[in-house]
Symmetry: C2
Subunit: 381 residues, 2 copies
Amino acid sequence: MLTSSINNTTRLQLAPLKIPTRLLLGPGPSNAHPAVLQAMNTPPVGHLDPAFLGLMDEIQTLLRYVWQTENPLTIAVSGTGTAAMEATIANVTEPGDVVLVGVNGYFGNRLVDMAGRYGADVRTITKPWGQVFALDELRTALETHRPAILALVNAETSTGARQPLEGVGDLCREFDCLLLVDTVTSLGGVPLFLDEWKVDLAYSCSQKGLGCPPGASPFTMSPRAVEKMQQRRTKVANWYLDMTLLSKYWGQERTYHHTAPINLYYALREALRLIAEEGIENCWMRHQKNVEYLWEGLEDLGLTMHVEREFRLPTLTTVCIPEGLDGKVIARQVLMEHNIEIGGGLGELAGKVWRVGLMGFNSRPESVDRLLEALRQVLAK
Amino acid sequence: MLTSSINNTTRLQLAPLKIPTRLLLGPGPSNAHPAVLQAMNTPPVGHLDPAFLGLMDEIQTLLRYVWQTENPLTIAVSGTGTAAMEATIANVTEPGDVVLVGVNGYFGNRLVDMAGRYGADVRTITKPWGQVFALDELRTALETHRPAILALVNAETSTGARQPLEGVGDLCREFDCLLLVDTVTSLGGVPLFLDEWKVDLAYSCSQKGLGCPPGASPFTMSPRAVEKMQQRRTKVANWYLDMTLLSKYWGQERTYHHTAPINLYYALREALRLIAEEGIENCWMRHQKNVEYLWEGLEDLGLTMHVEREFRLPTLTTVCIPEGLDGKVIARQVLMEHNIEIGGGLGELAGKVWRVGLMGFNSRPESVDRLLEALRQVLAK
C-alpha cells in the first residue's frame, strides 16, 4: 500500500515514563493536590458534551469566587498563564493605544514586549526589582502618559513583591483608563477583591495558588473592558485568544471554537472545588501563616529576605544568596539530593536570590520543615 | 486581617467530579489509551527539571518519527490544535505577504481568518466541501497568485476528505513559496511523509490519531520556513507562539519561556512511545482496516458516505443523514442511550452529515461494532 519507505532513525524504543517525585517549592508549578490529579485522570468526554458544558459553568462560577468578581466574562484559557496574559493584552489593545506598564520585575517587561507586538504605544514606569509603586507615583504617571490601559503586576514572580492595588482602580476611573493586573502568583494565595478594587482585566495560572497542574489559565474581563473590546475598529489580532469568539463558546451559544484541554478542566474544577470547600479567606490565611513560619526558619538559618516585609508575597519568597555561595550549585543539590525544587533568580536578580514558593497544596508546615532541613544540610557542607 | 468581606454567592458547594464514560467516535477528542491517562497522572515536576528536559527531547524525536521529518524545529505547542495552527501562520506571515489558502471546508476558512489577522494579503481557491484540489488546479492558482505561502488542509475534519500532497511540495519550490499543511486529523492515522513531500510547516493535535488528551499540539517547521522567519522585518505578532523564543526553550539554551503543561507532555510522550512500539506504518494500516470495516457496516445499514472513496480519510468519515431524519436527534440518542459520541456537520454540511471518527486508541473493531449496534437500534425506532 505504501509507496515510500519509513525512516526509522527517529523511532525511539522507550520504557514507560518514570519521573522522580519532587516537592516543588520553586516559582511554580507547585504540586497538585492528589484529588486534583485523580480528577484529571478521568477519561475525556467531548468538548460539547452536556456533562462538559455543565463543568464549564462550575469553573466560571468558582473562578468568580476565588477572584471575588461578578464579571460575566470569566473563563479559563486553554494554555498556560502566559497565554492568559496575552489574552488580556490582545483583546483590548488596538494599534496606537497608549499602554502604561509598571515594570519592577521580569513579568512587567514581558507585558511591555507583548503590548508592543499588538501595536501599542508602550510607556513604562520602573522601580528596582523587589519594590512596588506608591499611589502618588501612579497618579503622576497617569497624568503624564494618559494611557488607555494601566498594567501592573500584583504578584511579581521574579521578585516576590506584592503590589498593593487598593485605590488604583479609582485612579484609573478618574483618568478613564482600564486597569490590567497580573495575578499569576497571587490567585488563591493572596487576598484579591477584583470588583472592590475596580480591576478591569486579570489573568492567572492553575499551577500555583490553585494547586492544579499547568495548562488551563484563569482570565477575567470587566464590563468596561468588554465595552472597549466591542468598540474595536479591527479584529482581535489573535484567533486562539479572541474573546469575541471564546465568549460564544463559554456563553449561551456554545459555538465551537477549539477543542478544550478537557482533562485539565477536570483538574481545575476539582482544585477550585477544594478551595470553595476550605473557604477562600481560610486559604489566604493558611498561605500567610505558613510563609511566616518559613521566614522565621530561614532567618534561624542566618538567611535574609530580599523584599521588605510589608510587601512580601505569601506565595513566593525571594531569599538572598549569602555572599560567596553559588546559588545554582546549592539549588541543584537541594533538587538532586533532597528531591526539592527551589528556583533561581531571573533577570536583575539572577545569581542574587533563590525563589521559594509555598503555593496551593504545598503551603503546609511539612513543606517548610522539609525544605529547612534540606537547606540546613546542604549549607552545612 | 481582611478589611473587606467575602462575597460567598459564587461559593458553589460541589461533589467530587463525576463524568460519564463515553466512547468518543466524533471528530475528536477520541478516548486516550489507558496507559496514556496513567502517565498523565504522574505528579508534575518543574519545567526546567532535568527529568523534564529529557522528556522534551524524546517528544521531539518521536514527533519527527510520526511525521517522517528531520526538521530540527519540531515541538509540541502548549495549547490545543488551533494554537499550533496559529503558530504556523504567526511565525512566517508578515504584513502584506500573499497567503493562498485552499478552502474546501471549515478549517480552510479558519486559516483564511487567521492569516488575515496577521496582516496577510489572503487569496483563496475553493472546492465544494468534501472534494479536493488536483495538482493542475494548484499550479494554475500558484501562477495566478504567486503567494509566499500555500496553505492546504490535508485532512479536513469538517468534510472527511483527504487532500493528496504528493507533488505539491515540488510545485511550491518551483514557485518559491512555502507549503503549510493542516494534519490535525491525519497525524498518526494517515500516511504522512513530510520531508519527502517537501512540506514546510505542519501542525496537528494530540487528541485524535495520537490517542492522547487534548492540550499539547505538534508543530514543525522546515529549515526553509525557519529562514523566512529569521528574515522577518517585524517581531512575530504573537508572544506565546513565537518560535524565535520557543526554539530557545526546546533547544540547547533551555531559556525559560512559559510553564509547559507538564502532565500533558507526560501523556504525549507515552502516546508517542506506544506508536513507536506499534510502528507508524502498522498504525496507519490499522486505521485503514478499521475504517473499511466501518464503511461496510454503515452500508449494510443502508447509509451512504459523503466523500468519494478514493479521498476518504481513514480517521474521519462523513455519513449522509438519510432524507427525513433529524441528525441531531439521532446523535443525541446515540450519546444519551449508548454513551457514544458522534459529531454533527459543520458549516455547509450542518444537518447533512454525521461525522464519525476512528482515531488512535479508538480505531478498533470493537468501537465499530458498538457504534453499528447503537445506530441499528436508534434508527429502527
